[in-house]
């Protein structure tokens, strides 16, 4: 059996769902970042696969953009996370309620 577009899309969907569940369930901020990475990369997989399918490089270009943005996001996020940890000595999401209206 040849591996076609659909297989990639199914993989992407499964990864996206895992990522979503992670975003919803995880209370640890670090784990939340991982979940976000999974989400972004699931999208990258479908970008690359569809790009290949149509023979159009635009999709792969987008994947690179996404990787770059994800990297910078994680860099900023981790920096903030370290500061938070130094201040409060934990990185539990439930404790971050300073934005309560």
């Amino acid at each position: 059996m040849e591996i076609g577009l659909n297989h990639y899309l199914v993989l992407s969907t499964i990864l996206f769902s895992i990522g979503l569940v992670g975003v919803m369930r995880r209370k640890n901020l670090l784990m939340l970042f991982f979940a976000t990475e999974i989400l972004l990369n699931s999208v990258n997989i479908s970008f690359a696969a569809i790009s290949h399918y149509y023979g159009d490089l635009t999709g792969q270009m987008f994947a690179f953009f996404v990787i770059a943005i994800a990297a910078s996001e994680v860099a900023v996020g981790l920096g903030l996370l370290i500061v938070w940890h130094k201040k409060h000595n934990n990185i539990d999401l439930d404790n971050m309620s300073t934005m309560r209206g």
Partner: protein, 640 residues
């Protein structure tokens, strides 16, 4: 010459704005003097224009600027000075100059002195717009402007409940009539495509009588409101709540004659529909006697004069309705002079008597107020129409018109009214100035008005005496515009019998009034005498129960209906639905506030929920678009 036109028109406006600058500051003489001077300027400009029109026969027509121009509608701010409007301009500027100067003395102690002059000059400006406009739209602006100023001035002493009530009554009655007027103007535009007088009148000649009749009727409804004709007459007597100079200027000499002016101005329309003209004349004759009868018993000098005005307006409408437009305009002019004089005289009396208006509490004031007495007596003689004063030439002419046109009923009614006019005029003159000095019983200390007030009144006095001698000059002038029908009773014997008979009748009425009201037995009526309890007296003093009827059968049901609509429709339906919509949003906000818990984890869950919802919608709509044909087929299968 245009300069004079603009000066005549705009200097009252400048005066009004000048006085308005002092509106909030305490009483300053200058706020009265400057508008009076500016009105004098306006008077001089009007006189120059009069001389121009009189000597050369030229008329001025200027278009100051475009007001409205859309599609086929074109309405400019255009002004015309022709023989008719220049007559009105003279009357308006002359009487208002006199009244302004007089009011400087009359309003001397009033807190609202500055405000008063601002309103009064604004009124003159509006009136000038009304008479000078060259189209119906401009006339209507002036018409509304004078209505507004009338409202402001009747309710000038706004702390008095009765004054504000009277002001509102006048305003609302006029609104009712203005609706008719507006419909008339719309009809004119609809049928002729223009509102310019010359264009519209030229188009009327080729139109069918039915349309013209409707236009004539609706325009006349407007005139009925402004000129207080039955059944919209009640506001005029109540308007006497305003300061007396206002009554003299607005409710005797100028504004109330605007209706007559409208009919005279539209003479080319009314000449085409004589049956409407006859209706106008009949109504005029009815109002003449109707108002005169109410004036017979009233115990308020200003109201008596107001009813007299109403009665004289009836005379003017008789003349205008019978096609004698120049006679109507002539009586309008003469009436403006002697009636304004009469009102200003009444103002002097009121001043002397601390605003007491009941003539039965006066008596013998002639000794203290000689000047006022002479003026009021002469004005009354002029009003009664004794030769050679102004009223003889104008009022008797109307009687002749009725006679020559073979409307003998109208003639008889007017003749009888002339007697009544003489009687009630001299009734108050006798009660105020002659007989026992009853005011002493009530502790009044009357004094004559300021000298300059009497001097200010003197031009009116002179005109009231000599205005009749202008008749032929005036006739030659206005008949450039108005139909030049001369009204002569051809049979000399009948003419002399009529004239002398009328004079004798009027003189007898005057003597009867003097005899009855100069006697020493006159007491202040206390409601016990047989006369006061008679049905006739009660009918007349209660103004034929018409205000009562309006109050009981129109105002009260309307108020109840309004309350009903307010509680049932407005509160239960309109308010409820508006409040309901607002409440939905409020409640939604209240209920969804819990979402904003500030907990990041919950927020993320909501975010995911939102994403899922949007994605599902996208999928559903995508599918629906893809399979729209099949869905339609399926739905049509279900019979939708």
């Amino acid at each position: 010459m245009e300069l004079f036109l603009y000066t005549a028109l705009f200097s009252p406006l400048v005066g009004s704005l000048f006085a308005a600058l002092f509106g909030a500051s305490p009483r300053t003489k200058i706020a009265g003097i400057v508008p009076s001077i500016l009105l004098g300027v306006s008077l001089i400009s009007s006189s120059v224009l009069l001389v121009l029109v009189l000597t050369t026969g030229h008329t001025l027509h200027v278009e100051m600027m475009t007001w409205m121009a859309t599609g086929n509608l074109y309405i400019p701010f255009g002004f015309v000075v022709d023989q008719v409007s220049v007559t009105m301009m003279m009357v308006v500027t002359l009487v208002s100059t006199v009244v302004h100067v007089y009011a400087i003395g009359y309003m001397d102690h009033d807190k609202g002195f500055n405000r008063f002059f601002s309103y009064l000059s604004a009124f003159v400006f509006s009136m000038m717009v009304l008479v000078m406009s060259d189209n119906f739209a401009g006339l209507f602006i002036g018409w509304e402007g004078v209505g507004l100023c009338s409202w402001l001035l009747i309710g000038f002493w706004y702390q008095k409940e009765s004054a504000t009530w009277a002001a509102n009554e006048a305003f609302i009655m006029n609104r009712i009539a203005d609706l008719g007027m507006l419909i008339g103007i719309f009809l004119v535009y609809w049928n002729t495509g223009t509102l310019q007088y010359d264009g519209a009148f030229a188009a009327f000649a080729n139109m069918d009588t039915d349309t013209l009749t409707w236009i004539g009727i609706f325009l006349f409804i407007g005139a009925m409101g402004k000129s207080a004709q039955f059944p919209l007459h009640t506001w005029l007597a109540d308007a006497m709540e305003g300061p007396t100079p206002v009554s003299a200027l607005i409710h005797a000499a100028t504004m109330v004659t605007a209706g007559v002016y409208l009919v005279v101005r539209s003479n080319e329309l009314y000449s085409l529909i004589p049956h409407v003209g006859l209706f106008i004349a009949s109504l005029g004759a009815f109002v003449a006697i109707f108002a005169a009868s109410m004036a017979l018993v009233n115990r308020d000098i200003k109201r008596v004069i107001a009813y007299s005005t109403l009665s004289q307006l009836g005379y003017m409408f008789v003349a205008a309705g019978l096609g004698a437009y120049w006679v109507a305009l002539f009586h309008l002019m003469a009436h403006a002079f002697f009636k304004a004089l009469l009102f200003l005289g009444a103002g002097n009396v009121m001043h002397a008597m601390d605003s007491e208006l009941d003539p039965f509490k006066m008596g013998g004031l002639g000794k203290k107020m000689k000047g006022t007495m002479i003026m009021m007596t002469l004005a009354s003689v002029a009003l009664a129409g004794i030769y050679p004063l102004a009223g003889f030439f104008s009022k008797d002419l109307i009687l002749e018109v009725g006679f020559v046109e073979n409307h003998y009923i109208i003639y008889t009614v007017l003749l009888f009214t002339a007697g009544l006019t003489a009687f009630y005029s001299f009734r108050i003159v006798a009660l105020i100035f002659h007989g026992e000095e009853r005011y002493k019983l009530f502790g009044f200390h009357p004094h004559e008005a300021y000298k300059f007030m009497l001097v200010a009144m003197s031009p009116l006095l002179i005109l009231a005496v000599i205005a009749g001698s202008f008749k032929m000059t005036y006739f030659e002038m206005v008949t450039y515009v108005l139909p030049a029908t001369e009204y002569h009773v051809h049979n000399h014997t009948i003419y002399w019998i009529m004239t002398i008979g009328t004079q004798l009748f009027v003189i007898l009425s005057i003597f009867y009034a003097y005899k009855k009201y100069m006697s020493r037995d006159i007491k202040v009526p206390d409601g016990t005498s047989a006369m006061e309890n008679s049905f006739k007296y009660k009918l007349l003093i209660n103004q034929y129960y018409i205000p009562y009827f309006y109050e009981e059968y129109l105002v009260k049901p309307y108020r109840e209906l309004s309350t009903l609509f307010w509680t049932k429709v407005d509160q239960k339906i309109v308010d409820a639905s508006v409040d309901g919509i607002a409440n939905i949003f409020y409640q939604t906000g209240e209920n969804t506030r819990a979402m904003q818990s500030g907990n990041l984890s919950t927020m993320l869950k909501w975010m995911v929920a939102g994403t899922v919802a949007l994605l599902s919608l996208a999928v559903v709509f995508g599918l629906a678009a893809r399979y729209s044909e099949e869905i339609k087929l399926f739905l049509s299968g279900l019979g939708v």
